[in-house]
């Protein structure tokens, strides 16, 4: 039966900003759904607040709305676009929750919109833990014992019935937010209280702990005639107790017999039927008792998930795309398998390789937070690796993480703290396990303490044993057979260099290996274990002794490699993947064969549809050079064809490889690595700016404490200190005195070993401005100038920004434009560049220059309608800006505000303030005809509950006390009731502003946090002072986060918030699609 013809237009809901638990996998799934539904002839309307997504590119939908994912905004879109149906199953939990809200508000009925994929009843059944459990018991499936409760006392009662430890799982939250494990009543009370607050329905499940059981996931699909397939089985190496998003996982399952696996499959079938997911993909989690094999159903997601993105990349089966087709009525057997072309999608992929996923965390950015893993997801990214065997895949994944590890064993630059107990799951545990195996710990002891299956531990032991064997050889005496075995076990050249007794250089290992003709083969991901011919060039590397077994089948076409960004991390995420995808699209348009290299399974860049050729490989010099060698025909001699690399799109990761690539003869397209260095190296760059008469804040660079101190004294405190060559302001801080400065230097040297520390004068109260521009070697065109809403000192990634600037004089803007152009020309920029400026006391300073794509590129592209990354890629490929018709700074209609989304709710205990160290995970865009409304929409998009009435609590530091007066006055005029702590209140009362004085928390109840808990405050303005995080302010801000009250920590942010509130009081929310917007901006009304 063909597709449904009773629907013509479909609204797809995206997943909003990147947050922990919901990353760019939903850009991948949403983009796939958009593409395929348009191809089927449906009118696609898209809403997503996240501008850094590929799916919000205007060509992906007929109408694209970058608007807050709130029922109010979506209602406006429904009124305007009148969609026949909504597809809520490709936008993660956010889309599902939003669809449920629309249903509950009666909007679906009111506007006669159907839900596709899953009906509200099915969603409710799957998402409500109690209903789900009942449903499972009804069909005879086992579930952990437990009960859903709505109060802490009930939670304790249940725990006493089923026995400690218990799991606390809040209903309807993302990534297990607010959950935990309670080993005793005190812990239970604390976590249950937090969980109840985190749950939008104030419910938590108190459940029998199955900690230590084996954990499996099945990625399943069902169509409307009840055809059912298991796309992938995933086994967690970390046992139950660690959120699956924080677990090391393997596909396919490694330690199940067929009987046990088929039992899970049958259970999966029963679950999806009982829950009633009509069509699409679901993810079902199981716990299996390792001693008895007893399987329990843990949960199911009636939608495309993070795991299904992983499963899609792991198997080559595009779950989201197929889910979209099933949602409009196709059946699995009517859809061809993309990879084989000849066989249908109604089958179960067979893997003849092993896939490992490892999470990447960012605990180092949240001092004060225990890096202990539990049922609440905390990782910010993940890496996937594919190998012929588990050991190979695991070691590839370890080096793909880019955390300093070259594999499971080998040089270990991962910072170790304390004497970790491997009983406790932490990001460092796997390294401790390695150490213990090296020290001779028994397999049983490791298994007993970690809960890892013995099969995996034996694999780890094999790797260690091989390391020991290798250590007995010099490079020249190493038998080829052993070298080959090491490569089969996934040893990188770097690991070998570290392990071999003569400590050769990595490049010596490489050239020896090539001389011995030991090079990888590339294999296709073909969904069918080679049973059928595959036409999709999606590759991974492995080592084979069989001659002629390489499947790369390299062409002679003009080609280029685009090097991706690797695992998401704070500071390097979806924005860079967006740029890589654009680079692919642009080069394809120029008839250049695109070769994408990346190892992040969440991304659009690793969709086998994106580039002409996809290599799913770690982004180390060895792995990239191996691909280059194959593509250029340079395995055993000089290259027979040119294969240039583009390194400016994937963030810092490819830039770190640029020199190595160049040194090995790889042509670099675009800005030269030397120019990149010039911009990074303070000395050279300072000299350049000096010679051009361009101002920089006084600065210096030091390799040791003495030099650093001298520089700090010369410049004068406060100073901004940071290591060079890092992204996202890693370890960047403001020092106000010798003590804090020296403490910093002591800690920072480990951050970027070998790279010096940069020290800049911190320009207090300056305005900051970000500029993105494109140069082609002859001219530089400004793409956009963005003013930071927060003052200098807040990392640009964490700062709200507005395009165009709303309070900078045209005099300053002209200087900014002029300086940007001159620097671009001086650096001979070919492609993108980003310049950060600060304006203080009428002087325009250059803070830094990055001759590469920046985090703001997609934001400007969405605001202006110009595909900047595509233009930059074409420039890098040799086109001129003139040829590309990009010669003038684009005009913007109205105001576009980018707001950052911070993960403080996931890290109780973290210091809640904005700082030079970037900590946001994602961003949203708000746009409107004036700044205030655009800012308000951005805040809504960022899940801030921007109030229009109620109470406002003000507590500001001494520096800010004068400036708070105007804000307080405005809030009073807007009808807010003001509360303030003593100092602030005194100030306000002194100038005649009425406000109620409230105790600080340390003064005792009733205090500020009580006020928040009682719901008397809807807005908290709390500014911390510089380097010192006052405990009081911290507790207050934590309370605001916990209760979901809008929190503003800077005065400039407060002023913008006031402007937003004013607009919201005066106007109703309006929405506009990008397509409409561009029509207007370019003077050709759509």
């Amino acid at each position: 039966m063909p597709k449904r013809t009773d629907i013509h237009s479909i609204l797809i809901i995206g997943s909003g900003p990147i947050v922990i638990g919901q990353a760019c996998e939903f850009d991948y799934s949403g983009a796939q759904a958009c593409k395929v539904l348009r191809r089927e002839g449906y009118r696609v309307i898209l809403v997503n607040s996240n501008p850094a997504t590929i799916m919000t590119d205007p060509q992906f939908a007929d109408a694209t709305y970058i608007e807050p994912l709130t029922p109010e905004a979506v209602e406006q879109i429904i009124i305007k676009e009148k969609p026949d149906a909504i597809l809520p199953t490709v936008g993660g939990q956010t889309a599902l929750n939003l669809a449920m809200k629309l249903h509950e508000l009666g909007m679906l009925t009111k506007y006669n919109v159907k839900l596709l994929g899953a009906q509200p009843e099915a969603i409710a059944l799957a998402e409500d833990r109690e209903l789900f459990k009942q449903a499972m018991l009804e069909i005879g499936l086992g579930v952990p014992l437990g009960e859903t409760v709505t109060t802490v006392d009930q939670a304790v009662a249940v725990a006493e019935k089923i026995g400690y430890p218990v799991l606390i799982r809040p209903s309807f939250t993302l990534g297990g937010s607010g959950g935990g494990i309670g080993y005793d009543e005190a812990q239970l009370r604390e976590i249950a209280e937090r969980g109840l607050r985190a749950s939008p329905v104030t419910q938590v499940l108190i459940e029998q702990s199955v900690i230590g059981w084996k954990e499996y996931e099945l990625e399943v699909m069902r169509d409307r005639v009840d055809n059912f397939v298991v796309v992938c089985t995933i086994e967690n190496i970390d046992a139950m107790g660690v959120h699956t998003g924080d677990s090391m996982t393997v596909a396919p399952a490694m330690t199940l017999t067929d009987r046990e696996l088929q039992r899970l499959r049958e259970m999966g079938k029963m679950v999806i039927r009982r829950i009633g997911v009509e069509t699409g993909g679901s993810n079902i989690q199981f716990a299996v008792d390792p001693k008895t094999g007893t399987p329990l159903v843990i949960e199911m997601n009636p939608r495309v998930s993070r795991s299904s993105a992983l499963a899609s990349k792991a198997t080559g089966f595009p779950i989201a795309k197929i889910a979209a087709l099933l949602a409009v009525g196709y059946t699995l057997d009517e859809i061809p398998n993309d990879i084989t072309k000849l066989t249908p999608a109604s089958f179960e992929p067979s893997l003849d390789y092993v896939v490992v996923k490892l999470p990447r965390w960012a605990f180092e950015k949240f001092p004060g937070v225990d890096p202990i893993l539990g049922p609440q997801m905390k990782s910010v990214g993940e890496v996937m690796a594919i190998g012929g065997t588990f050991a190979e895949a695991f070691q590839k994944a370890m080096r793909g993480l880019e955390i300093g590890a070259t594999g499971f064993v080998g040089s270990n630059q991962v910072k170790m703290v304390g004497n970790d107990d491997i009983r406790i799951p932490t990001p460092r545990r796997i390294f401790r396990v390695c150490d213990e195996i090296r020290a001779g710990a028994s397999l049983e002891s490791i298994c007993e303490r970690t809960g890892f299956d013995p099969w995996f531990v034996e694999q780890f032991q094999d790797i260690v044993a091989l390391e020991k064997e290798l250590a007995g050889y010099r490079l020249t005496s190493l038998p080829n057979e052993l070298l080959f075995t090491a490569k089969e076990y996934g040893f990188s050249d770097a690991q070998l260099a570290y392990t071999l007794s003569d400590k050769p250089t990595i490049s010596a290992v490489r050239s020896h290996r090539k001389t011995q003709k030991i090079v990888p083969v590339y294999r296709k991901i073909d969904t069918c274990a080679a049973e059928f011919e595959a036409s999709t060039p999606y590759f991974y590397s492995t080592y084979s002794r069989q001659p002629g077994s390489d499947e790369a089948n390299v062409s002679n076409k003009p080609k280029a490699m685009i090097i991706g960004g690797g695992p998401n991390r704070i500071g390097q995420g979806i924005e860079f993947d967006y740029c890589c995808v654009h680079a692919c699209m642009a080069l394809r348009d120029l008839n250049i064969e695109t070769i994408m290299i990346n190892c992040n399974p969440e991304t659009v860049s690793t969709d086998y549809d994106t580039a002409d050729r996809l290599y799913f490989e770690p982004l180390t010099l060895e792995d990239v050079l191996n691909i280059y060698d194959r593509e250029a025909g340079a395995d055993f001699g000089p290259a027979v064809r040119s294969v240039p690399a583009l390194v400016q799109f994937g963030g810092q990761t490819p830039l770190n490889l640029a020199h190595g690539l160049e040194a090995n003869g790889v042509p670099i397209w675009g800005t030269s690595p030397d120019a990149i260095d010039l911009a990074e190296e303070r000395g050279r760059f300072g000299a350049l700016l000096n010679s051009m008469d361009i101002e920089m804040p006084p600065n210096g660079m030091a390799n040791n404490l003495a030099d650093a101190r001298t520089i700090a004294h010369r410049i004068g405190y406060p100073v901004l200190v940071r290591p060079s060559y890092v992204l996202g302001g890693r370890a960047m801080a403001i020092a106000y005195d010798d003590a804090s400065f020296e403490k910093y230097i002591a800690e920072a040297t480990v951050v970027s070993a070998g790279a010096p520390v940069l020290i800049d004068k911190y320009l207090e109260d300056a305005f900051e401005v970000d500029v993105d521009a494109i140069g082609d070697g002859t001219q530089v065109v400004i793409a956009g100038i963005m003013e930071h809403v927060e003052e200098a000192g807040v990392h640009s990634g964490d700062s709200a920004m507005v395009l165009p600037p709303y309070k900078i004089t045209s005099y300053h803007l002209e200087i900014i434009r002029d300086v940007t152009r001159r620097i671009g020309v001086a650096l001979n920029v070919k492609g993108l560049m980003n310049v950060q400026f600060a304006i203080k006391d009428d002087v325009v300073y250059v803070i830094e220059v990055n001759p590469r794509s920046s985090r703001t590129v997609p934001f400007i592209a969405k605001a202006t309608g110009y595909p900047l990354a595509s233009i930059a890629a074409q420039v890098a490929a040799g086109k001129t800006l003139k040829e590309l018709n990009f010669t003038e700074e684009p005009k913007v209609d109205g105001f576009f505000v980018k707001e950052a989304v911070l993960p403080f709710d996931k890290f109780p205990g973290a210091t809640i303030m904005l700082s030079p160290e970037m900590r946001s995970t994602g961003e949203v865009m708000g746009h409107a005809s004036n700044f205030g409304l655009a800012f308000a929409k951005a805040e809504m998009g960022a899940n801030q509950k921007i109030p229009t009435k109620g109470g406002a609590l003000l507590t500001v530091n001494n520096n800010d006390k004068n400036a708070i007066v105007k804000i307080a006055k405005d809030l009073t005029n807007l009808g807010f009731v003001l509360y303030a702590t003593s100092g602030t209140a005194e100030m306000l009362n002194g100038v005649g502003i009425a406000c109620t004085t409230v105790n600080k928390i340390s003064d005792g109840s009733p205090h500020t946090a009580d006020l928040i808990a009682r719901g008397m405050v809807q807005l908290v303005i709390s500014t911390p002072l510089g380097s010192m995080a006052y405990n009081d302010g911290q507790a207050l801000r934590a309370a605001a986060i916990r209760y979901g009250v809008m929190l503003v920590t800077t005065l400039t942010g407060a002023a913008a918030t006031v402007a937003g509130i004013r607009e919201l009081q005066q106007r109703s929310l309006s929405v506009r699609s990008l397509q409409d917007h561009y029509g207007i901006a370019k003077g050709q009304k759509a």
Binding site: G293, P344, F347, E348, S350, D352, A529, R545, Q546
Partner: protein
């Protein structure tokens, strides 16, 4: 670890002269057979103990084999039948709560020659394009020319009747069901205890378990048992089992089936399906490299079953006479996967509704057999 990563060499030689080098596991020795590949990701023990693989060397595409060891309960027959077992990485570690022994030890005990460290993907791609081939796996003789010559002297599967070597010597009764493993395949019990005679052409025990589970007492009889003897047992139905070799050569089976047609409800699986097809007057042919896996889409009655396959031959669709027809089709290659002759109360499937290994989507066919006998 003393030379732990440098092991005893072993090779696989194919009739086309290609040599595949690896290390020995299981029994040391040399064995010949037809080389086929299986793409199931679990269930190596079921594959090893499936009599249909008699005289074959099986290449597993899943890289890690042996992870869960072996246990008595999961065997599909009394012993391992295949000639050689080729894997990418034989697991030295057994990790499963039900394991009785390691795969390596069990293969050694049963004399199955294994080879590990083979680039199985390259080998499978070779077989896929060149077709199933005769070969020899050896950890004793390693000389290429000798082994290739040996591979070429192996009789081809076409024209080979292997049933006499795998069938039971004496008939026996089977009453054991699936126990705790029945989820999704337990089906509906017959309203009274039925009696089924099962021809053992190399029967898998999971077929017997699923029949017994449905309140059926099964009498398993040797492959050559005359139809008259079977009818004398007054069965409610007769089952034609799976098994190895060329179906066209099982002339006694075809003749007996002809004699039974119309007299008693018949259900056939795999070789039994081919025999039913031949008995009805159809013809069979050899597939290039066959279907051996657990992920094949079969369409029947408007729905798709993900099914377990193990066949190198198939029934020619257009050879079936009037009164019989194709019920199940493989969506990958349109190969006949099931047929029926409703007037004669006979039906059969080419694939394996008993799974073991593989998904249980097709276990409804055992219920159909019950309905046919009761109705």
């Amino acid at each position: 670890m003393q030379a732990g990563f440098l092991r005893t060499p072993a090779v696989l030689a194919l009739e086309d002269g290609t040599i595949w080098a690896g290390s020995a596991f299981g029994a040391i020795g040399q064995r010949t057979g037809e080389v086929v590949f299986n793409t199931a990701m679990t269930g190596y023990q079921e594959v090893l103990s499936d009599p249909s693989y008699f005289n074959q060397i099986v290449v597993m595409t899943a890289p890690h084999i042996g992870n869960t060891g072996v246990n008595d309960a999961d065997n599909e027959s009394r012993k391992y039948w295949l000639s050689g077992f080729v894997v990418r990485a034989a697991s030295p570690r057994v990790s499963n709560y039900r394991a009785d022994s390691s795969l390596d030890d069990e293969m050694r005990a049963q004399g199955i020659v294994g080879i590990t460290g083979i680039d199985t993907r390259a080998l499978v791609r070779h077989i896929r394009s060149a077709g199933a081939m005769r070969g020899v796996v050896s950890s004793t003789v390693l000389d290429s020319d000798t082994l290739v010559a040996m591979a070429r002297s192996v009789p081809t599967m076409e024209g080979l009747d292997l049933v006499p070597q795998v069938t039971c010597a004496q008939s026996y009764t089977w009453n054991t069901g699936v126990g705790e493993w029945g989820l999704g395949s337990r089906g509906t019990k017959a309203s009274r205890t039925l009696h089924v005679v099962a021809y053992d052409f190399g029967i898998k025990q999971h077929i017997l378990r699923l029949l017994a589970e449905r309140n059926i007492t099964v009498t398993v009889v040797p492959a050559t048992t005359p139809a008259a003897d079977v009818l004398a047992m007054k069965p409610d139905g007769v089952f034609l089992s799976n098994g190895p070799g060329d179906p066209a050569m099982v002339t006694y089976g075809i003749a007996n089936t002809k004699a039974l047609l119309g007299k008693v409800p018949l259900f056939g699986i795999c070789l039994g399906h081919q025999i039913l097809g031949l008995a009805l007057g159809g013809t069979t042919y050899k597939l290039s490299f066959g279907h051996h896996g657990a992920n094949q889409p079969v369409k029947a009655y408007g729905k798709v079953e993900i099914s377990s396959h193990n066949h190198g031959f198939a029934v020619q669709a257009d050879s079936l006479p009037a009164g019989s027809g194709v019920t199940h089709v493989n969506l990958n290659d349109n190969c006949v996967e099931g047929l029926e002759a409703p007037g004669l109360k006979a039906f059969s499937v080419q694939y394996h509704p008993e799974a073991a290994p593989g998904p249980h989507d097709a276990s409804y066919l055992f219920d159909r057999f019950v309905q046919l006998m009761e109705g």
